[in-house]
Symmetry: C2
Subunit: 718 residues, 2 copies
């Protein structure tokens, strides 16, 4: 009996010791927490050196009750040695960034490869049926319809979060909100396979891959950051947010092999402030991704060195005359105006699919069927033997862009039979023998509403590339017009002179300007340069993009992604701001939920027990007394449990402040602070909880879930 008691006493002492050390560690980490995001950089190196000396704390060695202990131990030892070696060169997270770039690029390359195979198969089948128009029609239409139906039902059944572009969700996560559904492995595989089907449907459905790739790389980033945290074991909460920002850059970079655009995109996608400590990791990871993508593309092709994706041959000596800059500016304004029109159609369509009962029913219950029907409709319109001959519909997206960026003038070639310079590109665009303006005009008119319709398809798809190609066609149209006018005015006699008006340059500027205007970003300007590998048109492209953006942003119109965000009711502040400009300046005090649990300084065990049972928060606020409500700080839940145990074991009636440490609050908000300020400060100080107090009296708490609730509530009023 006595030994039993001693044993139990010893056990209890042991447990209490364990709890105390855990508590101590937790408190230590919490003391660091408020400023963690900022101080962390300093501590990095110290923590690294600590991690090298503290192998035994690693979770790799955590559970020793498993089979094959000896071999496991050997493997572990080797892993630990590897970790030491890796850690000696640089922090583990850098390997994570590199791996993120490489993995995303490999995924991107694999996707391109399989899509090309599927497209070739379709084309081969279509060619074999030459002569039988009906069979050709079915081949042309049913193949994309089936693929879209498969993509749609597959993604709907396995992971409904995988449809759409993913960029609105990524933006919301980068703004600080947790959305674990969007970062699951199921989502990744569904999105990957669904996207292959979508892209294999080809230029009839006319959808791209950028957005989903940003999403895919974000998922990879989230998993890699977990892995890095597991290996590092010390700074648990570190790499999460950082890796997501980096992943956004990598997604774009490894889609096109364009590292600098990737970083600029990441800067633009961040909510309101881009933290400079992400800058270097973004560049590093994007460079890894772009290099891997280009090397793979090189090895699969016949090139001798990594090349740009859409290499152009613009004349380098005189890329454009200085007066042409005015035309580029006009093109920018034109693109801005057309983008406003496109965005208005898109918003109307979004609204229509929600309010129209038939559409709504189809889109909620029969997604596969809907996708199949829409794809069939689109494909039958682009059938090459009917209307499609005026729309260069045999071209894939890549071929379309290449042909549009061609530096030679089409119009002169079509009415000057002696100049057959680019037969392939031109044949497709003027197969009917008509001048090139007609197919371009038909393409522009038809693709506008077809694209709006395609955007309603519930499958994983990107909406950037189609817009880019559309813009290129718009630019080409203007460019061909200018070149034609120039030729007419100077006459064909002046031989070489007119060759220097390059319609390809207009196509490039148009692509950047239109896609920039639709997404309200400037990075397409750099993307246009990086995609073609030619810097000669950088300045006019930038000017066109700036002007198009200016027009598209005027009047606080929402961008394409804003419209999606608002439609999905995502708690993304800049989008909500466009739907309701007064929203971010709502005072916090108006929307704050009543505070459920708070303790007074002199709280006894009964009050503490009640608080612990009622609340699940990790930080519980402490006030001076329930009358004065003056906020003193907060206590940790773990400490309260400790306090209860202490009181129970010693059967003493102690007050809270005699036993527990009351941690001071880091930053106090006033109820007059706006929602936007609260959001910014929450992100900046990296704290999990902000306290709102008025003249010292506690009013409420703001946590990330609370912020999400506030934004969702506010957006319901729109």
């Amino acid at each position: 009996m006595r030994t039993e008691k001693t044993l139990s006493f010893q056990t209890e002492a042991l447990i209490r010791q364990t709890i105390r050390t855990t508590l101590h560690n937790k408190m230590k980490s919490l003391d660091e927490a408020p400023g963690s995001e900022i101080i962390r950089e300093n501590n990095n190196r110290e923590q690294e050196s600590q991690s090298e000396t503290s192998h035994n704390k690693s979770p790799l060695l955590a559970d020793p009750w498993k089979p094959c202990r000896r071999s496991r131990a050997t493997v572990k030892e080797w892993l630990l040695k590897l970790r030491c070696c890796l850690g000696a060169v640089c922090g583990i997270e850098w390997y994570g960034y590199a791996a993120l770039g490489v993995f995303t690029a490999i995924l991107s390359f694999l996707m391109d490869l399989s899509v090309t195979k599927l497209l070739t198969a379709h084309r081969g089948l279509y060619m074999k049926l030459e002569g039988n128009s009906l069979l050709q029609f079915f081949c042309w239409t049913l193949y994309p319809a089936c693929l879209c139906a498969v993509a749609s039902s597959f993604s709907h059944n396995i992971c409904p979060f995988s449809t759409g572009s993913g960029i609105p969700e990524v933006r919301t996560m980068l703004a600080g909100f947790k959305m674990p559904h969007y970062l699951s492995l199921t989502n990744m595989s569904t999105k990957f396979l669904g996207l292959i089907c979508t892209l294999a449907a080809g230029s009839t459905v006319f959808l791209g891959k950028v957005g989903p790739f940003v999403h895919l790389s974000t998922i990879i980033g989230a998993y890699l950051s977990n892995l890095c945290n597991l290996i590092q074991a010390n700074n648990k909460e570190k790499a999460g947010g950082e890796m997501l920002v980096v992943a956004a850059a990598v997604g774009v970079a490894s889609c096109f092999g364009a590292p600098i655009t990737g970083v600029l995109f990441s800067v633009e996608v961040m909510c309101s402030h881009f933290a400079l400590r992400h800058y270097y990791p973004c560049f590093f990871s994007a460079a890894c991704g772009a290099l891997t993508f280009r090397l793979f593309s090189m090895w699969s092709g016949d090139e001798e060195s990594p090349q740009a994706l859409f290499k152009t041959n613009f004349p380098a000596a005189v890329p454009f005359y200085s007066l042409e800059i005015l035309l580029f500016a006009f093109l920018g304004l034109l693109c801005g105006a057309v983008s406003c029109c496109y965005l208005a159609c898109h918003r109307w369509m979004l609204q229509f699919t929600k309010t129209n009962p038939m559409f709504n029913k189809m889109l909620t219950t029969e997604k596969g069927l809907y996708s199949g029907i829409v794809a069939f409709l689109l494909a039958s319109l682009t059938f090459p033997h009917s209307f499609g001959q005026y729309m260069a519909s045999k071209h894939t997206m890549k071929q379309l862009l290449t042909s549009l960026l061609d530096s030679r003038q089409w119009s002169s070639q079509s009415h000057n039979a002696s100049l057959h310079l680019g037969p392939e590109a031109l044949l497709e665009w003027s197969s009917s023998g008509s001048p090139v303006f007609l197919p371009l005009a038909v393409f522009l008119l038809m693709k506008m509403w077809m694209l709006v319709l395609a955007c309603t398809l519930p499958l994983p798809a990107g909406y950037f590339m189609p817009v880019f190609v559309y813009g290129a066609a718009l630019g080409r149209f203007l460019g061909e017009g200018v070149a034609y006018m120039y030729v007419s005015s100077t006459g064909l006699t002046s031989g070489l002179q007119w060759a220097s008006i390059n319609p390809g340059g207009y196509a490039l500027a148009g692509a950047a300007a239109f896609s920039g205007a639709v997404t309200h970003t400037l990075s397409p300007a750099l993307l246009a340069v990086e995609l073609t590998g030619q810097f000669s048109h950088a300045v006019p492209v930038l000017i066109a993009t700036l002007l198009a953006n200016a027009l598209a942003r005027s009047g606080h119109r929402p961008s394409f992604y804003d419209a999606l965000s608002i439609g999905k009711r995502l708690p993304y502040l800049p989008s909500l701001k466009k739907a309701c400009p007064r929203l971010p300046s709502t005072p916090v005090g108006q929307v704050l939920a009543a505070i459920l649990v708070k303790l007074q300084k002199a709280a006894g065990p009964v009050e503490v027990k009640l608080a612990v049972n009622t609340s699940t928060d990790s930080q519980i606020p402490v006030v001076d007394s329930h009358e004065s409500q003056i906020i003193l700080g907060f206590v940790l839940r773990a400490e309260l449990l400790m306090f209860l145990r202490h009181c129970e074991s010693e059967a003493l009636e102690k007050h809270l402040d005699e036993v527990c440490c009351i941690h001071p609050t880091s930053v106090l908000l006033s109820p007059h602070n706006t929602v936007q300020e609260a959001h910014s400060i929450l992100r900046l100080v990296g704290a999990q909880t902000l306290f709102v107090a008025d003249r010292g009296r506690l009013l409420g708490l703001i946590t990330w879930p609370e912020m999400k609730r506030i934004l969702e509530d506010l957006s319901k009023e729109i």
Copy 2:
């Protein structure tokens, strides 16, 4: 008597009415102040529309007691109409951004023009003296010596703040500190003229123009923002900070005609967070600047279209083999290592000039003499008839860079007489008939310490371009070596094959990597691409720059600008952090000054009078009572004056809270917040004053001057 009294009464009533309305307006603007930086975006459009309807409030019409009223009124009317027209298109500040770009570009162009003239004059004189070595020596040495002496004494006597690069000061201002001395017009003119002298001293002194140009554009930006504020008249405090961020981008963009680099530089130069609302203005202004600069360069030269500054002719088909990427990575590491060495020498030199009594005395009293002597020394070492023949010293900086970026291989040309492809470039580098490796090695060894010495010169000068050229030489050295080895191993027989190793590509990568490593930035990678107008080497250049940066940043070594910041004791947090890693994590409570003036809620006129006489702050904190010290908010100084007047006139003993409105504080800090957090929050919320309270009790205030004092005090302990 009675009328007099009535009159005086009327006057008093009028005055009180005026005070009340002023006060009301002030209070209104103050209510907006705390979140102003964030909310402002929303209000912009509304304010614009207000400004259109409220002409009469404009300061342009403020004082009607001046001569020529009629003509003035007409001019004013026209100006107001112009303002209406301009404001109808977009906000006035956009014209400011455009003007900023254009003005800076014109300045940059004018400077290039005058420097070219001065350099040509020097060269002409030197050529005329051909045959007389002694006279040539004096011409070669005294010209730069005199120019440097003039630049030095000129800038010392007129505006001592104009010496040096200016980038450390600009960074400090962008971090939020006011430094009006550095933004005066005197400073601008002194810097401009001094810089012309420095640049005209040529490649013997080996200094550049980027840094001072960033400073110059910041000054122009500050003035333009004042002008915009004057015209807008409504949102007084608006454009200040914004225009400075934009100006940093414009400085770089209009120096090289490289808009995207400019924006990336601006992102990198920001203290810790880049606000996205600056992104679009930066691009817009940088594009205006770059376009103007290129157009002016075009018009002054014979080109037909705006071209890149250092146009290269790298082969586009196979720019490099994929295995060469490893060599580029090695080059990056080499550049990183050399940059560490260079930075160590530079820091030692900075320390030496401070501690050595002779240097110290020279640099404080005889700046002109010191500059002259050093320039004479540097020039005599580079005299072409002696040591200079091994250093290509006849080349200007521009020619040096052009020759280094040449895509043809020098080494093969020097020992293969039949291949005289680039006589001019090569002649200068191997005039002595020796192989090209000797002059390159001599150049690298000599320029290292010459550059360190030149950095001590007390005149307006940039330190980026020399480093860029030095890096190009380093890259060229490796590139020539690789090309030579490749030729040796494959033999000269395989004709065309070896031509594809392009030493110019290595020079480009080296330039970007070395300058990036010295300044701890990544934008030089993009600058290298934008300067040459060729995108083919973008990926290897980026990789080299990343690796060089990684090596240079390891071990928390300060960058070039950090060393200058620390030397000048500027309150720039990221630099101070490198000198003393614990500094930013110092709790605010430790360094807070005692609070001098606070009022209690129930303060009477006597206490208020005392407070008003003691303090000059615009916001005076109010506590519950002097015993409890619970903070309630603050009152405005203007309101206190009103309160005193009220009490005096009505001879009543009232309490503060009965008359004045106590404004709630926006964000409360705790004394446990670190200095870095306080700094970030101060910037983020755009408030002028932050209150520090512990458990509701007021401890102190943090304002920008207070923050400056704290940082300066802390940096004294280093």
